[in-house]
């Protein structure tokens, strides 16, 4: 039994203009301690799959088919306290925009203390400072006193990681955690995430579109396109010999593989040139 089992998952959003299908039968299994990167363009459904693991879909969305099991338990059948327990004890989320996910009216120390107290831990100043030191914050005492808007993006992401790791989650879901960061901070933050996961043995689900970084950190990669996992396998083989044409077009656009004079085309453009029109049937309205 895998730790995460997503089978044929269909997620739909009700919008004023009809139902939008964000996941159209996605399947993904991950075992304990595994590191998986899910790559795909925006709108491919990778954020949705990340939130679906914690049943954290927005109010206008819902499961319309398939199952999500975490540790053998069907997330869709959990009651409210059960869901809270799952999120509190098993899951950790690392956000895309760390500053926004911190309460702007509360100092960092206060927010950390709340989290730690909620877990029944030691919320003393020293213990909190220790937590921040673990995410390589040089001057923890100063950061504890600051408000979120006084932090840099990288610093805020470290705090977010500290908050997520304080709970020792078994599954760490990172939704493009470096998207809002400067290039030079990205590597450090990724290093921090994967080292922390290494220490606690957490499974990492990393939603990304940075194939170069994926190649460095994850042994397994799943490619999403229009609400489905279209390719899933060892990173090396997927990157070397992609099977799905979408993956091929994605690889062709990798910065490290760009060559002068070779035109980069998106998959949709390729399809359009082949069939005359992009294929819209999969995303039913």
């Amino acid at each position: 039994m895998s730790l995460i089992e997503i089978d044929d998952l269909v997620v739909e959003f009700r919008t004023p203009r009809g139902t939008v299908r964000a996941l159209a039968g996605a399947t993904l299994h991950a075992s304990a301690g595994e590191r998986i990167a899910i790559v795909g363009e925006s709108g491919s459904g990778k954020s949705t799959i990340g939130t679906a693991i914690g049943a954290l879909l927005p109010a206008n969305g819902g499961f319309a088919g398939g199952t999500v099991r975490v540790d053998g338990v069907d997330v869709g059948t959990l009651d409210r306290p059960g869901l809270r327990r799952l999120r509190r004890e098993t899951l950790g989320f690392i956000p895309q925009d760390p500053i926004a996910t911190l309460n702007p009216t509360m100092r960092v120390g206060g927010q950390l203390a709340l989290v730690v107290r909620d877990l029944g831990g030691d919320a003393s100043r020293a213990a909190l400072a220790q937590l921040l030191e673990e995410v390589q914050i040089a001057d923890p005492a100063d950061v504890l006193r600051r408000f979120p808007h006084q932090l840099s993006g990288g610093m805020a992401q470290r705090v977010a990681i500290a908050i997520a790791m304080a709970r020792r989650p078994r599954i760490l879901i990172a939704d493009e955690p470096t998207a809002a960061l400067d290039a030079n901070v990205r590597r450090e933050v990724l290093k921090l995430v994967f080292e922390a996961a290494e220490q606690t043995g957490a499974t990492v689900v990393w939603l990304s579109h940075d194939l170069d970084a994926v190649a460095k950190w994850c042994r397994r990669v799943a490619v999403m396109y229009r609400g489905r996992i279209v390719e899933d396998g060892p990173t090396a083989s997927v990157l070397e010999a992609p099977e799905h044409p979408y993956t091929q077009s994605l690889l062709a656009a990798m910065p490290s593989r760009l060559r002068r004079g070779v035109e980069v085309r998106t998959y949709t453009e390729m399809l359009a040139s082949q069939a005359g029109e992009p294929d819209d049937a999969e995303v039913g309205a």
Partner: protein
């Protein structure tokens, strides 16, 4: 330093607003048909008497000089004398302010105690189908019942059905604390209905606005309990609009409880103002209106300063509306 400059700017803006209010109040009174002298002296006065009074009041000079003289006096607390009693207007108002203030604070207290929890509940239940209909109609009804309709109905009820409270017999708090509170309770309740409904609606909107913020999503994702989320991550962030409303309500209650005070025979600033309207005692009207406006402006500045403490981003980003 940035914060200090921001505070200074707010205070300056408050002063400018006050000056505008004073201008408006002054010129509104000058628009009054019929010369002040005739109003003051009555139709039987001689032309010499009128001229003398006009000169004494400075009414023979140009308007801006008059305004200058008037504002100079107002700043020192001199609003002139009441025609009704011959006493300085400010003394007359000061005499009645405690009664009105008690009433206002009671009404505001009830409104906040009822309105804030109601609004939070409404926001949390907004997702449930049909769950919001009942509370929507109730809080809608609350802001739709004019105080003079509700007040009159309450008076009718208590006059026809013996319920132990005599309407119209008002006891001041200073005379008897308990009786004073009891006789303020009914008018305070009538006033609080609108205020509570308005508070509930503002709270609901503010809370709904906060609930979609990413840090709430993050807290939900951490599996925190709903009430813990409300307490730690919602209330403080939603409190600025509620405080702003409370400031508006307080000004309205301190100066604008005219009708309810009249209905319940409460001897406060409101009834005094009604009497002054009746007797065309414009100095009193000017003073009472200025009082309410000053309360509003002062409260607004205080609320903005409080917002600064509540949300540290306000002063650095200057983002207030």
């Amino acid at each position: 330093m940035q914060t200090l400059r921001w505070v200074g700017r707010r205070l300056l803006m408050g002063l400018v607003t006050l000056l505008g209010i004073a201008l408006l109040v002054f010129f509104a009174a000058r628009l009054v048909p019929g010369q002040a002298a005739s109003v003051l002296l009555g139709p039987l006065a001689t032309q010499e008497q009128r001229d003398a009074l006009t000169a004494e009041l400075g009414l023979d000079r140009d308007l801006f000089t008059q305004f200058g003289i008037w504002i100079g006096k107002v700043v020192t607390g001199d609003f002139g004398d009441s025609i009704i009693s011959g006493q300085p207007v400010l003394d007359e108002i000061a005499l009645r302010l405690p009664v009105t203030a008690t009433l206002a604070l009671m009404a505001l207290g009830i409104a906040l105690l009822v309105g804030v929890p109601l609004g939070v509940l409404q926001a949390l239940r907004a997702r449930r189908r049909g769950g919001a209909v009942g509370s929507r109609v109730i809080s809608g009804l609350g802001i739709s019942v004019p105080e003079f309709v509700l007040g009159a109905l309450v008076v009718l009820l208590f006059s026809t059905v013996p319920l132990g409270i005599t309407i119209g017999a008002f006891t001041a708090i200073s005379d008897d604390l308990w009786l004073g509170l009891v006789s303020s309770l009914l008018p305070a309740l009538v006033l609080s209905v609108f205020c509570a409904a308005a508070t509930a609606r503002t709270t609901r909107d503010a809370v709904l606005g906060v609930l979609v913020e990413p840090w709430i999503q993050a807290a939900v994702g951490r599996g925190e309990r709903p009430w813990a989320i409300v307490r730690h991550h919602v209330l403080r962030n939603a409190s600025i609009p509620i405080l702003t409303l409370a400031a508006t309500l307080l000004a309205y209650l301190l100066g604008g409880a005219v009708i309810v005070e009249g209905l319940f025979n409460v001897p406060g600033v409101g009834s005094y103002m009604l009497l002054a309207m009746d007797r065309r005692d414009y100095a009193v009207i000017q003073a009472a209106v200025m009082l309410a406006a000053v309360v509003f402006v002062v409260m607004s500045v205080l609320v903005e300063l409080a917002s600064n403490l509540i949300d540290p981003r306000v002063s650095t980003m200057g983002a207030t509306t």
